[in-house]
Symmetry: C2
Subunit: 426 residues, 2 copies
C-alpha cells in the first residue's frame, strides 16, 4: 500500500474513531496490554535481532541502550497504558456554553485533531506510548520509527493493530511507515494529515517544517537555565543545579546555563564546583565567575549552546532583571528555574520568563509528561500556539462549535427584529 492510500485509510478511520466511546477506547487499551503480555518473547526476540544488526553496523553505545526493549521496558509501557486508561477521556468534553438567544445555544466541545503523523527516534517504547496516546484521544496515526528498531516496531505495530481489531476499533487507524522516502511522501499529504510531530534534533525538526505545508508541533533546543537568586537557600540551590545538570545529561530538559546573583556567588560557587567536579562536569564561566572559582572561560557561544553533556556555563548577574533578560535572549523557551525564598522575585521570574515551563525551587528535569501526570507525552513543544511544554492527551485534541437552534436566521438580527443575549452558561 502506498503512503497516499495509508493516509486516506487513516483519514477515513479518524472520522469513526472520533466518536468511539471512552469504554471502547479503554477496552482496546486493555487488549493492547494483553497482546504485549502474550507476545513478550516474540517482542524480545525481534528486539535482539535489531540489537545484533545494529551492533554489527557499529551503532553508538547510547543509541544501543535506547534501542534495547527488554522485559523491564515492556513492563514500563504496560504501566504507562494502565495510567492512560485511568485518565479521563479528553474527547467530547463541553468546554463552554453560551446562550446566544432564546433557543439558540452554542456549545464548544473537544474533539480529536484527526490524523497525526509522528516521526520518532530509535526507542521502541515511543511507538507504544505515542500510539496509545493517539488512540485514547481518538486520533488516527501514521508512525515512522528509527530504522534501527524496525523488527521491534513491526511486531509492536502488529500487536497493537490486532488488539484494536479484537476491540472493534475502526480498521486503518494506525499505519506504520518503514522508509525515509515514506516520510517525504507523508509530508505532502496535507489533504489527509492534520499535524506532524517530529521528534529528534533541531535540524531534523527544521527540515520537516521546511518541507511540509502540514502544521508541525516540534521542539527547538532545550537551552534551560537555573537562576540562583540573592535570597536562595544555598544548599538547596546546589542540589537543584546538580540534579538539573547531571541527573541525565543527554535530554532537552537538562540545564545548560547557570545564572548566579553576585550577592551569593562567593558562598555558592565554591560549593557547587566541589559537587559538580565529583561528577566530572566541565565548567565554563564569565570573567566575574572566574574571579571566584578557577574554571574555563565562557564565550558568547556558550550561552547559545545546548551541550547535552557534562558541561555547564556560568554567568554572574547583578540583579534578577539581568537574569530574566539573559534567559529571554539566549534561552529556547523550554524550561527555566529560579531558586529563591523571595516570593516577589519568584513571581517576577515566573511571569516574565517567556518559557513553556517556569519552575520555583525545583529541578528543570521535572519538565516531562510522565512527571506532570499526563501518563506519557508525544513530545515537549516549544511552539507558542496550540500546545506548549510536555504534550499529552490535551495537546492531541481540538474543539468544534455546535450551535443548536430552532429555525433561527441571521436576517432577524441584522434587521434588529431580535437581539443577541450572549448569556454565558459555562
Amino acid at each position: 500500500m502506498g503512503i497516499k492510500e495509508m493516509a486516506l485509510e487513516a483519514k477515513q478511520a479518524s472520522i469513526k474513531l472520533a466518536v468511539a466511546s471512552a469504554e471502547l477506547k479503554n477496552k482496546a487499551l486493555e487488549e493492547i496490554i494483553k497482546g504485549l503480555e502474550n507476545h513478550k518473547n516474540q517482542i524480545i526476540k525481534a528486539n535482539q535481532e535489531d540489537l545484533e544488526r545494529s551492533k554489527n553496523e557499529n551503532l553508538a553505545m547510547p543509541l544501543l541502550k535506547r534501542l534495547k526493549f527488554d522485559e523491564g521496558k515492556i513492563e514500563d509501557v504496560i504501566q504507562g497504558i494502565k495510567s492512560l486508561i485511568a485518565l479521563d477521556d479528553p474527547v467530547n468534553v463541553t468546554q463552554a456554553i453560551t446562550e446566544l438567544d432564546d433557543g439558540l445555544e452554542l456549545y464548544r466541545v473537544s474533539c480529536p485533531i484527526g490524523v497525526i503523523g509522528i516521526i520518532f527516534e530509535s526507542r521502541p517504547d515511543a511507538l507504544v506510548q505515542i500510539s496509545t496516546l493517539c488512540l485514547k484521544s481518538g486520533n488516527a496515526v501514521l508512525l515512522k520509527g528509527g530504522s534501527e528498531a524496525k523488527n521491534t516496531n513491526r511486531i509492536l505495530y502488529e500487536i497493537i493493530k490486532e488488539a484494536c481489531r479484537k476491540a472493534n476499533m475502526p480498521e486503518g487507524w494506525i499505519q506504520l511507515l518503514e522508509s525515509r522516502d515514506d516520510v517525504n511522501e507523508m509530508l505532502k499529504m496535507d489533504k489527509y494529515i492534520n499535524l506532524i510531530i517530529p521528534r529528534g534534533s533541531n535540524e531534523f525538526v527544521r527540515y520537516i517544517m521546511d518541507h511540509s505545508n502540514i502544521p508541525v508541533l516540534g521542539h527547538a533546543d532545550g537551552i534551560c537555565h537555573c537562576y540562583v537568586d540573592a535570597d536562595a537557600d544555598i544548599n538547596m540551590a546546589v542540589d537543584i543545579v546538580e540534579d538539573s545538570k547531571t541527573q541525565y545529561v543527554a535530554v532537552c530538559n537538562a540545564a545548560e546555563t547557570l545564572l548566579v546573583h553576585q550577592a551569593v556567588a562567593e558562598e555558592f560557587l565554591p560549593k557547587l564546583k566541589e559537587k559538580l567536579e565529583k561528577k566530572q562536569v566541565e565548567l565554563y564561566g564569565c570573567e566575574k565567575t572566574r574571579k571566584i572559582i578557577d574554571i574555563l572561560p565562557a564565550s558568547e557561544d556558550d550561552w547559545k549552546t545546548e551541550y547535552l553533556d557534562y558541561k555547564l556555563s556560568i554567568k554572574l548577574v547583578s540583579d534578577i532583571g539581568e537574569a530574566i533578560d539573559h534567559i529571554n535572549q539566549y534561552g529556547s523557551g523550554h524550561t527555566d528555574a529560579i531558586i529563591t525564598n523571595n516570593k516577589e522575585n519568584a513571581d517576577l521570574f515566573m511571569n516574565l520568563v517567556d518559557s513553556g515551563n517556569v519552575f520555583l525551587n525545583c529541578s528543570t528535569r521535572f519538565s516531562d509528561g510522565f512527571r506532570y501526570g499526563f501518563g506519557a507525552e508525544v513530545g515537549i513543544s516549544t511552539n507558542k500556539i496550540h500546545a506548549r511544554g510536555p504534550v499529552g492527551l490535551d495537546g492531541l485534541v481540538i474543539y468544534k462549535y455546535k450551535l443548536f437552534g430552532n429555525g433561527h436566521i441571521v436576517a432577524d438580527y441584522a434587521n434588529k427584529v431580535k437581539k443577541f443575549k450572549h448569556k454565558k452558561i459555562k
Copy 2:
C-alpha cells in the same frame, strides 16, 4: 524604522504587556474609545481621501463600500470595544492544578502568545477590532492593512498608539506596516513573531504559508452546506436555506451547496425554488434534483466551488450518511447545518461532520465572532490545531506551566526514594 527593529520593539513590549493587569488594559481600551470620539472628523476626512483616491483608481464598488468608514462605522467599533471591556481577562487564568507530590504543585496558567502579525483587507474597522483584541489578550501586534485604506489606517493607528501611551501601556506594542515589501520582510521574522494571521483569499493565505516559517492561522474556502433531512420542518428549512444563501453572499459562512433527503425533495424543492428565484439566485442541480425542479445542471466542479455569489448547487441524497460523506469530501471544514426534528440524526450529523462549526436548525451565517459573543474576531480558522472556527480572545492566548517546589530533585524519584502522587486539584 526597519521591519526588524519594529519586530524587536514589539517583542520587547510583549514581555511587559504579558503582565499588564486587566484594569490597565481596560483603561487603555477606554482611552482608545475617547481618542476615536475626539478625532471623529479627522478620521472621516482621512477616509474620504482614501475613498476619492480609490475611486480615481477605479476600485470596484463592493471594495469601496468596505473601505468606507463613516460615523456609523466608528460608532460600531466603539460598541465593539465596549463589549470587549466587559469580557473577562483571558490572561493569567489558572486552567489546571496538579499536586505532583507533597509541596510540588504544577499550575497551567494562560498567557499571551507574544507577537502577532496580521495582514488584513481594506476594511479600516478591522484595524481597530484586531488591535483591541490583541491589546486585551496582552499580545503585541504588527498590522498591515489594505493600501487603499492607508490614510484611514494611519490615523487609527496613531489614535490607538497615543491612547495607550496615555494609559501607560508599554511603548512599541503596536506597529503599522505600510508596503507589500514590509510584509515579505515580516514573514522572515520568526525570531520575533509567534503567529501570522492572514485575512484574504485562499491563494493569499497559501502564499503566506509557503513563504514563512512562522505558524499561520488562516482559513481555507468556506464551502458551507445545508442538509435538509427527511424529518425536517419544510418551512423552517426554506427560511434557513434562504438566509444561509442570501443574507450576505460575499462571505465565507454563506451556504454554497444544499443537500436534500430524497424523501422530502418533492415537497421542499419547489417551495425553495420559488423563494430563491425572488432573490435572483441561480440554481444548479444534480440529475435527480432536475427531475423535480427545472434548473441548470450541476457538475462535479460545483461541489468544490465557493461561489460567494447568488448561486447555489443542489444535490439529492438517499440518506444522512450520504450527506455526511459528501460534506466531509467536498466541504472545507468551515460551517455546515442540518435541518431536522430527528434528534438521533442531528447527533449523527454534528458528531460526524468534521467541520469547525456544525449547526442544528439555524443558518450557517451565525458562524461569526460577534454573533458567538466574542466581541469581535481576528478571523475564522479552518485549521485543526490551536483555534478553530471564529477566533476571539481565547485563540490569542496560550499557556505556560508553573511548577512550585521546595528543593525537589528528580533523582529522588528516579531512585524510588519518593513517588509521585499526581493528585488533580483543578
